[in-house]
């Protein structure tokens, strides 16, 4: 092996890929992701980063990381499978929505229009990957002490980080409990609010193992394009024909 010194974090390359996509023809953009399971260390940073970025309430999660043990003692392995929405190119979830509240946009992102969604949860049931969760209006801080003054108390704490939802889809949502997204189906949206301001998705930038690769899968110069071509790459439950735009590397 010859001597290497890393010259660039892959994050920088992806950032460049992102900028190139945004500076180019918008019609050419098809966002995609590759998750390299060999590099995933099961740290759950992506899960929590996503929860934090999107201020997800209890019971709502866009990107959990599944863990399982493989092998028998003393030859044991552990596998970690992060599971965002796979942004199926043939999504079973959007077809079932009765009010077109969820759809695949031009850039291949399956989004939910919180203002339309009636909360029937048909799409939750239709997604073969359990990638959608519904917002039942729960709070993380409920269950903590209500006292205030000497300790911070539930209300102050809640008001500080739970009451004001994140700017998902770049929008200002009403204070928690006063309307959408409470009651709606929620899911990973590839952080379109970040993409639009030239930021990579939250789960990508925080990925400690550098297992998550994101970019324009239509751009032959992008990292994601390269990775999709790898022999290690496959699609989760490929047999279902959903054709996810999120690929995995074994």
């Amino acid at each position: 092996m010859s001597r290497f010194l890393a010259v660039e974090d892959q994050m920088i390359r992806m950032q460049r890929d992102l900028n190139r996509a945004l500076d180019g023809d918008p019609k050419n953009i098809k966002w995609g992701m590759v998750i390299d399971l060999a590099k995933c260390i099961g740290c759950h940073a992506c899960t929590v980063a996503c929860v934090a970025e999107n201020k997800l309430p209890p019971g709502v999660v866009y990107r959990p990381v599944l863990e399982k043990e493989t092998g028998r003692y003393p030859s044991v392995g552990r596998q970690f499978i992060p599971r965002p929405c796979l942004h199926c190119q043939n999504p079973p979830c959007t077809k079932v929505c009765p009010v077109k509240a969820t759809y695949k946009n031009e850039a291949g992102v399956v989004v939910v229009d919180y203002k339309r969604c009636i909360g029937c949860r048909y799409c939750l049931v239709a997604c073969p990957y359990s990638a959608r969760t519904a917002d039942f209006g729960d709070w993380y801080t409920s269950g903590a002490t209500k006292s205030q003054g000497v300790v911070q108390g539930q209300e102050t704490a809640g008001a500080s980080y739970e009451a004001m939802p994140a700017a998902e889809y770049g929008k200002k949502w009403p204070p928690r409990g006063k309307g959408s997204p409470v009651g709606n189906a929620r899911k990973c949206h590839f952080c379109v609010h970040r993409l639009s301001v030239r930021m990579l998705p939250a789960c990508v930038t925080t990925c400690i193992g550098r297992a998550t690769i994101f970019g324009n899968r239509n751009d032959p110069n992008s990292m994601v394009f390269e990775m999709i071509a790898s022999a290690r790459t496959y699609q989760l439950k490929g047999e279902l024909g959903t054709n996810p735009a999120v690929y995995y590397m074994a």
Binding site: L5, Q10, V76, S147, V151, K171, S196
Partner: protein, 1074 residues
């Protein structure tokens, strides 16, 4: 295999790697592509013109990407202290991400000269705890007022009182709790006159060394004996020492302020950290190994350790270290390992009884037997490498600096030095020139006095060559394996001694002892010796926290030494930071000089560190009442038990800062009775952000600002190769109340508390004009900004190492980003005036980036580390062999060896297995919890709500247990398996079983962070109102109380008598169905 995305470039090994002009380093401007101003699609969106369809429906409310909403700082959700970017919306922390300038978050990190506008949309990684930090800040159970107990200690009944009242009560004392008079700090900090202090101290030293008679001392100092703790034992020092400070997690800046308050302002020797609960023996083995030969003594070793240059090594053995889940730490190290292993640069092997996440990705996992396996493997490797001739003979032969230089080696070792062997065959002192009747040379010390240089000796052929290890001109190389007699003296070389220790058992026998497969270990040995200097063994708690921790660590470092990898790219690395105290030439502010007029602290400290029992007046024959620790400091497990035993003297007031020894220590339950006893500990003050597992026993709890609201300088870790200085700075308005100290308004935090004590006690170092005329020390930033200035200035006296000055845009951003901070925290004019108009732009440049970070390529030079450890490395510790162990009366063992355990403090082996405690208890950290302090982070509990009693499939079958069964953990020193909180409450050590393939049979593991009994996990009362508990916080269990209590001292966990480590992995337990 060069990666096809060209993320790594092949480097030309013959040419130096440094220099900005190298083609391999992309120019900043080209780095990110795109333009600063939004153009293209995003630009159109921002400009409100036609949007592409995929952006339809996207609003423009997202503001995290705007640089004026970001403050660059440093995380402290765990001690890795990664860089972070705090994103603010409406004055509230909305999101935390990784700081791309900081090498913790990216490899390589972005160049320092990247304009911060460009960095606004780039972020590095953080672990889940870092991501969840918002919930530490906005914890519903955070205290915002001073609490004073109304019930008995530990009853969890409190009253909130004004800050000034608390300060007044603590300083002046009185009948504070209706339980009788309590001495205030002013009654403790009594010795104030530096001249008297010096006279008392100097003569006390004479008394201790037998050069002065005690009666003589007493009569000479009759007038001032009142200042002493015990006039019969003047070497205990002044009463000031009865004011004791104990901290858990502290870093520079803050650390300087509070430690200096104790040591320099109050003149107490009792300020003790938590090192030994953490990885003490790793640090103190490093300290012993880094001792240099200076003016006739082995001294000056720093409390430090080495880690792998993870990003460049080709083979790394992680021993009892878990960089994917814990360690220092996941964002800093994991990327280097995953990219390295998957992209083909490196291979790793993991030695751990448990298949940690790191182990699960290793080329080889050795499920080592926990009690004695770690040193056994080291000895096996030492023997194998030497016997297979795979050690680096050229490196090891170098006995002096000149020899190392000649070989282009950053370090040299004592491998070839000769040691005298005693009649019983045991090694003693080094062979010296004088032993061979060679003349002793008189030399001059730095202070002008004289010292005798008596040369060391190495053998070369038939010659015994005298040498000075520090000689820069005379290159001495010695034979590595010497066992002979010279001038009638039996001598052996150091490496010979170590080799013999390794050859006590065969390779296979060591492997059997360690419970590992010999073929696997042989493969590892081959691999380790096949990459030149780019192989490394990286150690952590699984090596150090044993009764033989010191020897385990030195044995493993010896393994590294055999390939001479210290200071080499891909080998062992050390931390390097900029000097911030300013005590070096040319620096703008020397902040260490502000205690003029204060006394110099002196006396034996309560934990008897750095002190030799039989050289004090406390010597009463062997064994001593408790262990003495001549070779380590910060022995966490000794502080409170020593207070309990009032040995060597009683403590009157204890301040605990950001630590939870009851929770964190093995057998921490033994501390509870002591803390509850107001006779043994009359005053107990805690600084905390919640009512914690230990602070709940305090008399007063002062609220503190969290890491998101305050200053601190986290320093670096050994695996960080660039020179760095990360900065933690206030990112959000403090949630605690505002108080007035020295006439200044400030948040009620630790600094305010300390400064208020200082103000009331009128001790030096605080207040008016301490930094010079008109330069006060009245606020935290008076100290901290000067420190930042020192860093911005750099380490060259001529200022050529200074950062660039912030331009107008950066200055504007700096101010805008802090618009939400109140005047009590940020006041531009005041800040500027502290360091001066001229310095200011340089500070802004550093603060805008969350610190100062050398670029990655500059950290390497000619295949070596630019910031390398480049001194002698000790392998044989003469200091140890010439010092008596207080418990055995015998000298300490002087070199790396297999020392069996677990042993009590007198060295006797403990065998609880015989009593039927058939499982060895070990512990580890899960990625989502830190110590006692992240249980209130609900996002983290969602990922991992409770911990488990983890056992192997074989054990589960044997015991008839399955997933989810409840069992209780009992041990010989805790047969009930409970935490007795003293107040009537008992918390059982009971958890759900998890059955795993990935754990060694006979071992039971649990992760740290659950099973709480404070911080909202139980109800408590403030001002007569009951605060309800949050049941999520009491989930799981905490089994530290099952860890073995030392049968000799009885109120303390098992410990390493040399390196000081508290022992986490050598307790035998039994699982009882609940």
């Amino acid at each position: 295999m060069p990666h096809k995305n060209s993320k790594v470039l092949e480097m030309d090994c013959d040419k130096p790697l440094n220099g900005v002009s190298r083609r391999s380093f992309i120019k900043t401007s080209a780095l990110l592509g795109g333009s600063v101003a939004f153009s293209g699609v995003a630009g159109k969106l921002m400009a409100g013109s036609t949007k592409p369809e995929w952006m339809d429906g996207l609003g423009r409310e997202y503001t995290h990407h705007l640089i004026e909403n970001q403050i660059f700082s440093a995380c402290q959700q765990c001690n890795t202290n990664c860089g972070m970017k705090v994103k603010i919306v409406d004055g509230v922390v909305a999101k935390i991400d990784g700081n791309p300038y900081n090498p913790w978050c990216m490899t390589p990190h972005i160049p320092e000269d990247t304009p911060i506008d460009r960095a606004a949309t780039v972020e590095g990684s953080l672990c889940p705890k870092g991501q969840a930090g918002i919930q530490t800040l906005y914890d519903p159970y955070r205290i915002v007022k001073v609490l004073k107990r109304t019930g008995k200690r530990g009853e969890n009944k409190w009253r909130s009182i004004p800050f000034s009242q608390a300060v007044d009560e603590i300083v002046n004392g009185g009948d504070l709790f209706g339980e009788g008079p309590v001495e205030g700090l002013k009654d403790i900090v009594v010795l104030r006159d530096p001249a008297i202090a010096k006279a008392l101290a100097d003569d006390a030293a004479l008394v201790a060394s037998g050069k002065m008679d005690i009666d003589q001392y007493k009569s000479k100092h009759a007038e001032n004996l009142k200042h002493l703790i015990d006039p019969d034992h003047p070497d205990m020092g002044p009463k000031n020492n009865q004011f004791c400070f104990n901290w858990g997690r502290i870093k520079n800046g803050r650390g300087d302020l509070i430690k200096d308050f104790f040591s320099k302002a109050c003149g107490s020797v009792n300020y003790h950290g938590h090192t030994t609960v953490c990885q003490g023996s790793l640090y103190f083995a490093g300290m012993a190994m880094s001792d240099q030969f200076v003016e006739g003594k082995f001294t000056g070793g720093s409390k430090f350790y080495w880690q792998a240059d993870t990003g460049n090594s080709e083979f790394c053995i992680f021993v009892g270290a878990n960089p994917f889940e814990a360690n220092y730490g996941p964002p800093l190290r994991a990327q280097k390992v995953t990219e390295g292993t998957v992209d083909g640069r490196m291979k790793i092997a993991v030695i751990d009884p448990r298949c940690s996440k790191t182990a699960s990705r290793a080329w080889k996992w050795l499920p080592v037997e926990p009690t004695n396996g770690v040193p056994a493997i080291a000895m096996a490797l030492i023997g194998w490498i030497i016997n297979n001739n795979r050690h680096d003979k050229t490196y090891l032969a170098n006995a002096s600096k000149a020899a190392a230089k000649a070989d282009n080696e950053p370090t040299w070792s004592q491998a070839a030095w000769l040691v005298k062997i005693g009649a019983d065959g045991s090694p003693g002192k080094y062979l010296r020139g004088s032993d061979l009747n060679r003349p002793v040379e008189t030399r001059t010390k730095q202070d002008g006095s004289a010292w005798d240089f008596d040369a060391f000796v190495a053998k070369s052929g038939e010659n015994y060559i005298s040498f000075d290890p520090n000689d820069e001109n005379k290159a001495v190389e010695g034979e590595l394996f010497v066992d002979g007699t010279v001038e009638g003296i039996r001598v052996k070389s150091v490496l010979q001694i170590i080799r013999e220790a390794a050859e006590v058992k065969s390779f296979e026998a060591w492997c059997r002892q360690a419970g590992v497969n010999a073929t696997d270990l042989e493969d590892i040995a081959k691999e380790f010796t096949s990459h030149g200097k780019k192989a490394v063994a990286d150690l952590h708690r699984g090596v150090s926290q044993h009764t033989s921790g010191f020897y385990n660590v030195t044995a493993w470092y010896t393994v590294n030494l055999l390939i001479g990898n210290i200071g080499w790219q891909g080998g062992l690395c050390k931390a390097t930071t900029w000097n911030y105290t300013g005590n070096s030439p040319g620096k703008p502010f020397d902040v260490t000089k502000r205690f003029a007029g204060g006394i110099k602290a002196w006396g034996i400290n309560i934990i008897r560190h750095s002190a030799v029992y039989d050289k004090t007046t406390m010597f009463e024959g062997f064994p001593a009442k408790r262990t003495w620790y001549p070779f380590s400091t910060d022995i966490y497990q000794e502080v409170i038990p020593s207070i309990g035993d009032q040995y060597p003297y009683p403590i009157k007031a204890l301040l605990l800062y950001m630590g939870s020894p009851v929770y964190a220590l093995p057998s921490g339950h033994t501390l509870i009775d002591i803390l509850r006893d107001t006779k043994k500990l009359p005053l107990f003050i805690a600084s905390d952000i919640v009512v914690g597992e230990t602070s709940m026993y305090a008399d007063y709890i002062f609220p503190d600002t969290t890491y998101l609201e305050r200053w601190e300088f986290p320093g670096a870790h050994p695996s960080v190769s660039p020179k760095v200085f990360p900065i933690r700075q206030p990112a959000v308005a403090p949630l605690v109340e505002t108080v007035k100290v020295f006439g200044e308004e400030m948040p009620m935090n630790m600094e305010a508390m300390i400064m208020a004590f200082a103000e009331a006690l009128e001790v030096p170092g605080f207040g008016e004009n301490v930094f010079g005329p008109g330069q006060h020390m009245k606020r935290e930033e008076d100290l901290y900004l000067r420190m930042v200035a020192n860093v911005a200035f750099g380490d060259r006296p001529d200022g050529s190492d200074r950062v660039p000055a912030a331009g107008a845009r950066e200055m504007e951003i700096f101010e805008k980003a802090r618009k939400h901070l109140p005047k009590t925290v940020f006041d531009l004019e005041r800040w500027k005036s502290i360091v001066g108009e001229e310095m200011w732009p340089f500070l802004v440049y550093v603060l805008n980036r969350g610190g100062r970070f050398q670029s990655y390529e500059k950290a390497y030079k000619d295949n070596q580390l630019a910031n390398a450890y480049n001194k002698m490395v000790g392998l044989y510790f003469e200091k140890l062999v010439t010092t008596n162990n207080a418990m055995t009366g015998k000298p300490y063992h002087p070199h790396a060896d297999f020392v069996p355990g677990p042993a009590d403090c007198t060295g006797n082996l403990i065998n609880d297995r015989e009593l039927g405690f058939d499982m060895t208890l070990i512990t580890y950290k899960f990625i989502t919890q830190t110590k006692s302090r992240t249980v209130g982070n609900y996002w983290l509990s969602a990922v991992y709500p409770e911990n488990y009693v983890e056992i192997s499939v074989a054990d589960a079958r044997r015991m008839g247990l399955k997933y989810g069964d409840k069992v209780r953990i009992v041990s010989a020193s805790n047969t009930d398996g409970v935490w007795n909180l003293g107040s009537g409450l008992k918390v059982p050590m009971e958890g759900k079983v998890k059955v795993l393939e990935g754990i060694r049979p006979g071992v039971v593991a649990f992760s740290l962070g659950h099973g709480h009994w404070a911080q909202g996990a139980v109800p408590f009362e403030i001002d007569g109102k009951v605060l309800t508990m949050d049941k999520r916080r009491s989930k799981g269990f905490h089994a530290n109380a099952a860890m073995r209590v030392d049968p000799v001292v009885r109120n303390t966990t098992l410990s390493d008598p040399v390196g000081g480590s508290a022992v986490f992995y050598q307790s035998q337990v039994k699982l009882v169905k609940a």
